[in-house]
Each structure stands twice: as structure tokens, then as C-alpha cells.
């Protein structure tokens, strides 16, 4: 089905919009050999560099079946257009989850999750897409259907090609189906809030918590009432009770009160929604966990009192920026310092007008040469989201 444009990605208008109704129709679209950008439900299309050109915007929302959920195997296979909210409902009925919690699950698809390597607070304990994706089916540049990995949780037959597509923004093929391993959903999920004087102090506090306990999730940043830490704990009642005592003790050592909420999942979801709030740009730094505090402090020094939130255990720091000058200064001052220490700072999302003037990805390593070869091997004609990825790939 082809519907009238205009629709745009990062300000680049698509010449047409296609909504294939089957994998075979996806293959037909690819075989046309024209530059295309694949979209799910559109919530994360502002991740990446603006595409060079879009002949077809391929919306996957009609390829959305849950192919197979064998609860006792703890695996699920779903088509790329299936939303995370749908998955959550089906898996939840079996007491399971795919523990990846990016913002807007109702508007996030399986394909988008993989292509943009989306995650949320749960990554502190549950990992990211690369830890849960066990099999994939993609359409290659020739329009062929290609399978790799499988449906079993342990498998070393052949190269681990599912990893090729994670975070690749659709530049090496079109993901049409994916299989994930699942985990049991914790019976209880509670959360603690601790407020600290500064962002650096909040990060220190979060690390102090992590030194004594592996929480379900661990966020630090500008919370509703100022700099603080939010800790999620999950499990059965005795585990929660023990975790509460441990966290209370950490708070007491710093003379801080601990506020508890019984609905930890609700707090987690509201924290996880952080980066989609409309703004000029969201920048994301990848640093070591011990550098999170200094990174947040630097963001505030340069950009002022902007919203900042970190997945502390993973060293992921994000800040929402509202003015172009702050964005320019962060890229000019903070990015080189982080890169010099082995980290990265990317412009995760930005309005099209802001994106045009910045380098979204920043400095890349010497492995870029290999990445160019990867791109050339899987997309010799440059039809998959040209220009969207690192190094203009």
C-alpha cells in the first residue's frame, strides 16, 4: 500500500510512503533498489544523522504479528512492526517481560528497538538489545530474506549476525522479524528516592548504592525536586526487604532520608520518558560509571540548569538542551574532553533545524575503516538509509 507523502525524516522529505503488508512486500520494496528509510511507529525517527535522500519511507506497522511466544521456552518471536506495548501485554500475562524499557513503548516497535538500540533504566540489571536478541530475519540489499541466530537461548552456530543490525539504524538491511530471550518479571518492583545537594553528589551516592547491591535500575540526575538518585529494586518480598535495609544504610551514612514508593515501575517509566520531551536536542554521553558525576556537572556548568539524567551503572548520561548556543558549546568543549578519555558524546535526538548544523556522531575510532567495509558489503548500492549512520554511512 502506498500513501501520499509528504512525510519527512529530520527535515528530509520522503518521495513516497510505503506500508508493506507482508515480508514479501518488504522484499519487493527493497528490490526496487531506491534509497529507503524504514520506520516503525515513528517515535524514534529523530535518532541519527539526517538521511541523504529518501525515495521511500517504509512503514512497518502492518508487519506486526507476534509469530511465536512459547512461555515455557522463555522466548518470543515477533515481526518488526509489533509494538513493545503489545509485547508487554502478551508477555505480562505469562509473568514474563522483554526487559527493555525505552520511552513510548506504545509507539516503539521491535524493529525500531533493534535499529536504534533503544534502552531504558532496566539496562542496569537486564542489559541491552545485544544481551537479549537471539535471532533475526532481515531483507538484504538484493531483496533476499536472510536468517541468522535462532530461537534457542544458547547457540554458537555461525557468526552472530543479529548483532550487525543492533544500533545500525537500518543501514545494512531491513529487520522483518526478531527472536528474543525473555526473563521472568519480578513479582515486586519498588523504588527509593534520595536527594543530594549536587549532581556530582547524586552520582557518588548512586555508586555507593551499587557498591553494596545490584539494583534493578539506578538513575541519577535532576529529579523533580532537585539532584538525586532513584533506585529500583525487584524480586520477592524478602529480597525487597533486604534491599530496603541496605539502601537505608547507605542513605544514613550520608545523613539522607530515603523515600520509598511501592510502585517502582511507575517511577521507572516516568524517568524513562526523559528524552522524548520536546526540546531542541538531547545529547548522550557514554563514559565510565565513575565519570558520570563529573560529566553531569560539566553539562550543567556549560549549559546551565538543564534536565540531566543518567543510567549510572552503564555510564550513560543524557541532557536535554533548549538552546543552540548550549548545544554548540557542549559539542565544542565537553565532547573533545570525553572523547579524549575514551568516551563518546552523540546528539541522540534533535530538531531538524538544529541537526543541520552539528556533527551528530562525533569523532570515530580507527575501526571506522572496517565499518565502511561492512556497509559496502551489505549495501553496495547505498539504498539503506544512506547518510544516516556514523561516518556518513
Amino acid at each position: 500500500m502506498t500513501v501520499p507523502s509528504p512525510e519527512a525524516v529530520d527535515g528530509v522529505v520522503a518521495q513516497s510512503v510505503v506500508r508493506p503488508g507482508s515480508v514479501a512486500e518488504v522484499q519487493a520494496v527493497v528490490r526496487a533498489g531506491r534509497p529507503l528509510v524504514v520506520s516503525g511507529l515513528g517515535a524514534h525517527l529523530d535518532v541519527g544523522a539526517p538521511p541523504a535522500r529518501i525515495d521511500a519511507l517504509v512503514r512497518m506497522d502492518r508487519v506486526e504479528r507476534i509469530v511465536d511466544h512459547e512461555a515455557a521456552d522463555m522466548t518470543v518471536t515477533a515481526e518488526a512492526g509489533c509494538s513493545l506495548a503489545t509485547l508487554e501485554r502478551v508477555l505480562g500475562a505469562a509473568g514474563q517481560w522483554l526487559p527493555l524499557d525505552p520511552p513510548s513503548p506504545e509507539r516503539t516497535t521491535v524493529g525500531g528497538l533493534i535499529a536504534a538500540n533503544l534502552s531504558g533504566p532496566l539496562r542496569a540489571s537486564q542489559g541491552t538489545v545485544r544481551d537479549l536478541l537471539i535471532g533475526i530475519r532481515t531483507v538484504d540489499a538484493e531483496g533476499r530474506l536472510v536468517a541468522s541466530g535462532g530461537k534457542v537461548v544458547k547457540n554458537v552456530a555461525g557468526y552472530d549476525l543479529p548483532k550487525l543490525h543492533i544500533g545500525a539504524l537500518g543501514t545494512v538491511g531491513v529487520v522483518v522479524e526478531a527472536t528474543f530471550k525473555l526473563r521472568p518479571r519480578p513479582e515486586l518492583e519498588e523504588a527509593a528516592l534520595l536527594h543530594a545537594g549536587t549532581l556530582a553528589a547524586a552520582a557518588d551516592l548512586a555508586l555507593a548504592v551499587r557498591d553494596v547491591l545490584d539494583p534493578l535500575w539506578l538513575e541519577a540526575g535532576t529529579l523533580e525536586r532537585g539532584p538525586g538518585v532513584a533506585v529500583g529494586v525487584g524480586g520477592i518480598a524478602p529480597e525487597i526487604a533486604a534491599a530496603r535495609r541496605t539502601i537505608e544504610a547507605v542513605g544514613a551514612r550520608s545523613g539522607l532520608a530515603v523515600e520509598w514508593t511501592r510502585d517502582g515501575a511507575a517511577l521507572r517509566r516516568s524517568l524513562g520518558a526523559f528524552p522524548v520531551t520536546p526540546a531542541l536536542a538531547v545529547v548522550r554521553a557514554s563514559v565510565l560509571p565513575t565519570e558520570v558525576g563529573a560529566t553531569m556537572a560539566e553539562l550543567h556548568r556549560i549549559a546551565g540548569d538543564v534536565p540531566v539524567l543518567s543510567h549510572v551503572a552503564n555510564g550513560v548520561v543524557r541532557a536535554r538542551l533548549d538552546d543552540a548556543e548550549a548545544l554548540r558549546r557542549i559539542l565544542a568543549e565537553l565532547r573533545p574532553a570525553i572523547e579524549a578519555a575514551g568516551g563518546f558524546l552523540v546528539v541522540e535526538r534533535a530538531r531538524p533545524d538544529a541537526k543541520r548544523h552539528v556533527d551528530v556522531w562525533g569523532r570515530l575510532g580507527p575501526d571506522l575503516a572496517l565499518m565502511r567495509r561492512v556497509k559496502a558489503a551489505y549495501d553496495p548500492g547505498g539504498i539503506f538509509a544512506p547518510g544516516r549512520f556514523v561516518g556518513g554511512l
Binding site: A72, K154, V156, A157, E187, W361
Partner: protein, 475 residues
């Protein structure tokens, strides 16, 4: 044929004792843990530093010589068999632990560091390296990265790829490239994730940045005795359905129980159909409650006896049966071979029936001791290698078992790799287009196919019908 001066030129790079070319010594390197096929390399090079590895590979590149990387040689699928590759490069002398960052839970090690040494280096800090293949006192991190190794505790903690943040890779050209690093969410393709499990076909990994994991506060270990493998399998499903992720969930069937009992007399009922060994770990607070749930599930599925370890000594006693199972099997027959296959865990009873059917059809004795929680089976086929007909039947049964794994929705290998052993069977699992997508990646890293040639993919040169089964090897 290698140029006659190559050994001398390699000695100039790595020293006199860094090159092996005496035929008697080369025989040591003619196989790894997969002993069915043997081929000695013409030269073995033993560099001491990552830089020396690169220098050696550069020299080989200039001469167009293919090479085979090797760690400790504990691999089980013939991944280090020199086939069309006259030079073997061993990374076992690259033994430095270069950096430990306790608070960030990262460690940088050279490729020849033994798996167990990583945990030894950080145990005092309450940390450990989670992947624990049974060869962990000997196998190296370089080999673990190449094979994406597993182990009994992968059910909860994941396999090697989940714990590798970055690698330094010497490309077949001799160029050195750092993939990944110390931070998460590196922009670009996940070249680290692609390199893990590539079985040495992308080049030679010389360093790895690994994640460390908190050592559990406590353990509970339970051994449950069942009348049948079906009942034990249902208990496995029941434990999973109860929302528990045990650290390990291992099963042994009647033949293995009998062997263990005959060898060690640890009091297992020899008329039992199966025993299940379940272990949970984590914060002390939840353990007793979880253990009670596992007990209830086992009872509900007909467990006639439960033994629970309350301390480290009792835990070790329960694990003894599992860990010594392979040694015990040695008493039942002159030879045995272990297969490695995977099925969805609900299909464990089906694959066990298929294994029994293959055993009956080929008049063989087969025992099972395996990672039930992952659906990762390890049937042990008993035989006498002097009986040519029996050997042929073992090979046929092994092939049929793997075919059954694939037919049940599983895989050819869960943790041992494809190597030379199973490359002929890759088409059971992957179609021509799927295999092309994989070989395209190989060409990115190794366009001349000089790094560990003739592995993983179907190839007329090595993937011929095998004539004798693989050696007995613990998993």
C-alpha cells in the same frame, strides 16, 4: 610449501624459543580437544606480546601465508586444526593482566590469560568473571572469545559475548584495530559482538576488555531424584514457569547415575530415571524462599527424594556427581563421544526420546548429562573404537541426533562451536543466502581467507564424512 627462510625470519621477530619447527614437537599441536582429525602445522609461533603477534601476522601477510590462531587447545570442534594453514600462532604466552578497574567492574587482559586467572585476580574484591566453561582452569580468554564459550552458569549470567566490552584484533593484514572499548553504547556497528564467536576467522584477538560481576552473597543447591526424565523435564519447565532463573539447572539420566554410583558410591538411587541439580545464587535474603519454591515444584512433579546443601561442603558434594560424570562414564566403555546440540527447553523430552531412538536403532548405549535449563544437550555415546561397525553406528547416531535438534527448532551447537567438526552440517540450519550473508562478513575482515581457513562453512576441503567419532571430552 613455506619459504625455507621463514622460520629464521620469524625467529628474528620472536626469538629462538618462540618458533617450533621440530617434527616431534609439532606433533603436540596436531589437534585440540577434538582429536578425530589430526594435522600438524609446519611451524608454530609463540609470541610474547600483542605487538609481536602483529609483527608475525604482518610477515605472514607479506608472504601470503595462511595461519591458525590457538589458545590453550581445549576447543572441542577442531577450531585450531591446521587445514590449509601451515603456520600456527599461539597466544598462550600473552599472559598479562593489564588493568583492573574494580569500581567500574572492568578488566583488561591479554589473550593468553587463563579464564580462571581472571576470577582469581578479583575474587578478594567480591567480583568474578562469570563465563565458566568446564575447561576454565586451562582455557584462555582468547579462545573463549573465539568460541563464545559458555558453561553451567550461563543460564543466569549469559555467555562470553555478554561479558566482552572490547577486543584488540590483529587483522590478517597485520594491522591492529581496537574494537569496542571500556564504555557502553559505542556509536557504529558492534564489531566486538561480531568478532566474539567468529572462531578465529577474523584475525587474532590479542587483548580483551571484560566485564566483572559481583560474587553472589550466597548459594542454595538442590538435587532432586525423579522416576523419569520426562518428570524431571517437567520440573525444569515448572521452575522456569515459577519465575525463577536458577544459576544452574543440570540433568543426568539413568545410565549416567548408574555410572556415577558405580564409580563413586555417593548414594544416588540407581533405579532413578533422572536427577536434577538446581542451584540458585544471589542476595542471601531471597534464597530460602526461592529454594522452597523449587522444592515444591519438584515435589509436584513427582520428585521422590530431595537433597539440599546448606553449606559449601554439602554444595561441593552435590556438584561432585555432576562434575565427575564424565570420568565415571569412562568405566562403562573403552570410548565415548559427546555431542553438543540445543533445543528449545520445552523440547528436551522430545530430544531425549530422539536420542534413545537413535541409540536403539544403532544398537548403542547413550547417556545424558546436560544443561537442562538452556536446552543444551550433551548425549554421551559409548563405543569401542576397535569395533569398526560400532564406530560407524556412533557417527550415524550423532548425525541423526543433531538433525533431530534442528528439526525441533534448535541448533547444531550451544557452546562447542562449528570448527571443522560440524561445518558440513551448517546447511541443515542455514540456507545458501544465510551462509552468504556470513561469508560476506568474513570477507570484510579477511578478504584473502588466510585467518583460520576452512572452518565454520561447508567446504569440500575439510567437510568430508568423518570416519571415527570425536574423542571423549568433558563439557
Amino acid at each position: 610449501m613455506l619459504r625455507p627462510d621463514l622460520a629464521a625470519r620469524l625467529r628474528a621477530l620472536v626469538g629462538d624459543d618462540g618458533v617450533v619447527d621440530h617434527p616431534d614437537t609439532l606433533r603436540v599441536y596436531d589437534c585440540d580437544g577434538y582429536t578425530l582429525e589430526r594435522a600438524a602445522p609446519e611451524l608454530v609461533v609463540l609470541p610474547r606480546t600483542p605487538g609481536d603477534v602483529a609483527a608475525v601476522v604482518r610477515l605472514l601477510a607479506s608472504e601470503g601465508v595462511p595461519f591458525v590462531p590457538r589458545g590453550a587447545g581445549t576447543g572441542l570442534s577442531g577450531g585450531t586444526l591446521p587445514v590449509g594453514a601451515p603456520v600456527m600462532i599461539c597466544t598462550s604466552r600473552l599472559q598479562a593482566i593489564e588493568a583492573i578497574d574494580r569500581r567500574n567492574r572492568r578488566i583488561v587482559v591479554q589473550a593468553g590469560v587463563v579464564n580462571q586467572w581472571v576470577t582469581n585476580a578479583v575474587r578478594a574484591d567480591g567480583l568474578h568473571y562469570a563465563p565458566d566453561p568446564s575447561s576454565q582452569p586451562a582455557c584462555t580468554i582468547g579462545g573463549n572469545v573465539a568460541e563464545n564459550s559458555g558453561g553451567p552458569h550461563t543460564l543466569k549470567y549469559g555467555v562470553t559475548t555478554n561479558h566482552v566490552l572490547g577486543v584488540e584484533l590483529v587483522l590478517p593484514s597485520g594491522d591492529v584495530v581496537q574494537l569496542g572499548g571500556t564504555v557502553e553504547d559505542r556509536p557504529g556497528y558492534d564489531l566486538t559482538g561480531l568478532t566474539v564467536g567468529s572462531e578465529g576467522t577474523f584475525g587474532i584477538v590479542t587483548r580483551a576488555t571484560l566485564r566483572l560481576v559481583r560474587t553472589p552473597e550466597g548459594y542454595r543447591t538442590l538435587l532432586a531424584v525423579f522416576d523419569s526424565v520426562e518428570a524431571a523435564s517437567e520440573a525444569v519447565s515448572g521452575i522456569i514457569a515459577a519465575g525463577i532463573v536458577p544459576a544452574a539447572l543440570e540433568m543426568m539420566d539413568r545410565l549416567i547415575i548408574g555410572a556415577v554410583e558405580a564409580a563413586y558410591g555417593i548414594g544416588l538411587p540407581t533405579d532413578a530415571g533422572a536427577v536434577l541439580l538446581a542451584e540458585i545464587d544471589g542476595p542471601a535474603a531471597g534464597l530460602d524462599d526461592q529454594l522452597a519454591r523449587i522444592e515444591a515444584v519438584c515435589r509436584a512433579h513427582g520428585a521422590r527424594e530431595l537433597r539440599i546443601a546448606r553449606d559449601d561442603a554439602e554444595r561441593a558434594a552435590l556438584w561432585k556427581a555432576r562434575k565427575r560424570a564424565f570420568g565415571a562414564v569412562g568405566r562403562l566403555a573403552p570410548n565415548y563421544c559427546t555431542q553438543d546440540g540445543v533445543v528449545p527447553r520445552t523440547r528436551v523430552p522430545d530430544i531425549l526420546r530422539a536420542i534413545q531412538a537413535a541409540a536403539a536403532k544403532h544398537r548403542l548405549r547413550v547417556g545424558n548429562v546436560f544443561h537442562a535449563g538452556d536446552g543444551n544437550i550433551h548425549p554421551i555415546l559409548l563405543f569401542d573404537e576397535r569395533d569398526r561397525d560400532e564406530v560407524a553406528r556412533v557417527l550415524a547416531a550423532g548425525r541423526e541426533i543433531l538433525e533431530a535438534c534442528v528439526a525441533l527448532g534448535g541448533s547444531l551447537t550451544g557452546e562447542h562451536g562449528i570448527g571443522v567438526e560440524k561445518c558440513a552440517q551448517m546447511p541443515l540450519l542455514f540456507g545458501p543466502d544465510d551462509l552468504l550473508a556470513m561469508t560476506a562478513l568474513r570477507a570484510v575482515f579477511d578478504p584473502e581467507q588466510r585467518a583460520n581457513p576452512h572452518k565454520i562453512f561447508p567446504d569440500a576441503k575439510v567437510c568430508v564424512e568423518t570416519r571415527t567419532p570425536r574423542r571423549q571430552a568433558p563439557l
